[in-house]
Structures are given as structure tokens and as C-alpha cells.
Amino acid sequence: MSAFHAASAANTIFDALSTQARVSFAGVVGDVERDVIPTMAMLAQNLVVIGARRADGTYSAQDAADELEAQVDAAASVIVRFANEVLAQIQALLNALLAAVKSVVNAALPISVL
């Protein structure tokens, strides 16, 4: 049976985790800058346009209320997509951890059991 070094195993698992975390969450941060903030700002500008049209009488109160609701729903979509992306990256991180545990166990045994 090959020797099992706890410190070496911990390093292997930590390396796998930190590499995956850098890949996963650098992408999430980049997406916030590239997609979330510009889209939210565009929706905020839409609110200004709706307010101006309501003020000059182009829109009725009902028109303005319906269009405002559409902006809120759009913002909710942005948040739900972001939640989906974070969950997907957490899944990638968990799977990297499980794969690292598996490789450490296999390395410690004379035959590959996993």
C-alpha cells in the first residue's frame, strides 16, 4: 500500500479547490461588470423615460404602471440568472472538491477503487 501523507493530500485538495474557485468566481465577477450593471443601468434609464412620458401626458397612469412593472420583472430576470450562474459555479466547485478527494484516495491505495 502506498504511503498516505495527510499534508500532501490536503495540499492536493486545496490546490484543486483554489484553482476551480479562481476560474469559477473570476467569471462571475466579470459577468457582473459586463452584464448585470449595464442592464440594471439601462432599466433605470427606462424608468426615467416612463416618468417623462407620464409627466407630458403621453402615458396614462395605467400605461406607466404596466411599463414600470415590466422593468421590475426584467430586473428580477437579471437577478435570477445571476443566482443560476452562482449555483452553477458552486456546483463546479463542489465537484472539483469531490474529484480531488477521489484522486487522493486512489493515490493512497494500491488499486484504483473509485
Binding site: 400605461d63 430576470s77 450562474e85 456546483q91 469531490l98 478527494v101
Partner: protein
């Protein structure tokens, strides 16, 4: 207590690692949803361009567009059903509540209203299913407004502004462009806030499926 919880988690991870299992907290990437969502976005943009082109004519009234709404809603319904049939993993509503509480830095948005909109559309399930529900609601609300605002000709200003006169290319670009600090009044006069909001919801649905593909590929 904390150490006990950490030990429990480490034990679970070790056991799961030993058993060779994998974590599944989001649904798997689904090519049919991906292609369906992109096709839907394209259909919607064609519809907007057609309504702009036929504005203030008989072809530009709600009556002429009712079947298009039915078609868009049927396609979204199919995506929603497919998303609900997938293994859900973690309930997306749990994450929405957390993110809705995060300050967006844009004071015009009421975080509680956004969180409430997400929760109301949720009904449980994966984030893809929730996004499909929100997009359905957006199209249905646009349909109702179209029916109310564009029932007859000559078209009212309210009807013209529902679809705006900004080119589709410009609408698409504005949804993802880095915004300037000031509003361009000339383009604002031609813009359609409703169309842009619906497009954002359709874009996020298509983008979320792409995110699953990217995350699975890493």
C-alpha cells in the same frame, strides 16, 4: 457547535468522494431549451420590427398580432414545461431572496419589489423554470397592453411608444451597452421601455442556459 458542523460537512464530503458521487444543484445543460430560447428571442425581435414598420396601419393593431402572441406564449410554455421536467437541484427561490437583498447601487430600483417579482414568478423549481415563467409573464403583459393601447387606427402616441421607433439593432445594443451618465434625449424619445424590458427577460433566459453549458465545460 461550529466545529461539529464542519466535521459533519467534511465527513459528508469524504463519504461522497469515496462513493464517487457528484453534486447536482443546477439542472443539466439542455440544448433544446438553449436553442428554443434563442429562437424565441429572434422571433420577438422580428415581431417588434414588424410592428414598428406597420405602425399606424391596420396591420399595426393588436388584432393583427394576436396570433403572434399566442405563438410566442406557446413556445415559452414548452420551454417552461421542459425546464420543470428536469432535475431541479436547489430551489432557485432560496437564492433569489438572497440576491434581491443585495444593494444594486441603483437607487431607482426598489430591491423589495424586485425580490417580490422574482418570488411571485418562482413557484419553486430551477432558475431556468423561474426565468421562463417571468418571460411568459412579460409577453402576456405586453399582449394585454397592446390590446388596450393599440386597438384601433389612427394609433395613439401611447400605442406608438409601446413599440417605439428605435431600430431593433439599436435596441439590442442598448440592452448590453455600458450606459452613459446622461440620457440621450433624441434616442429616448424613440425608445420602447416595455420592449427593452421583455428583451432583457428573454436574453436572461437564453443566457442562463448558456451559463450552465459554460460551467459544465470548466
Amino acid at each position: 457547535m461550529l466545529h461539529r458542523t464542519i466535521r459533519l460537512w467534511l465527513g459528508c464530503i469524504l463519504l461522497c468522494g469515496l462513493a464517487g458521487c457528484t453534486a447536482e444543484i443546477v439542472p443539466p445543460y439542455d440544448e433544446a431549451i438553449d436553442s428554443g430560447a434563442h429562437a424565441l428571442r429572434s422571433d420577438f425581435l422580428k415581431f417588434v420590427a414588424e410592428r414598428q414598420r406597420t405602425a399606424n396601419t391596420a396591420a399595426g393593431t393588436y388584432a393583427s398580432s394576436a396570433s403572434t402572441y399566442s405563438d410566442l406564449l406557446a413556445k415559452l410554455g414548452a420551454i417552461e414545461l421542459r425546464a420543470e421536467d428536469q432535475p431541479n437541484g436547489v430551489d432557485c427561490a432560496q437564492m433569489q431572496v438572497m440576491f434581491a437583498r443585495v444593494h444594486t447601487g441603483i437607487s431607482s430600483f426598489d430591491a423589495a419589489a424586485v425580490g417580490s417579482a422574482a418570488s411571485n414568478a418562482s413557484g419553486g423549481g430551477s432558475c431556468i423554470a423561474v426565468l421562463a415563467r417571468i418571460a411568459s409573464k412579460q409577453i402576456e403583459n405586453l399582449r394585454k397592453d397592446d390590446e388596450r393601447r393599440c386597438a384601433s387606427i389612427p394609433a395613439t402616441a401611447s400605442c406608438i411608444d409601446l413599440f417605439g421607433s428605435e431600430s431593433v439593432a439599436s435596441i439590442v445594443a442598448s440592452v448590453h451597452a455600458t450606459p452613459s451618465a446622461t440620457i440621450d434625449l433624441a434616442s429616448a424619445a424613440r425608445s420602447s421601455p416595455f420592449v427593452k424590458a421583455v428583451l432583457v427577460s428573454l436574453d436572461e433566459l437564453a443566457g442562463a442556459e448558456q451559463d450552465l453549458k459554460s460551467a459544465a465545460g470548466k
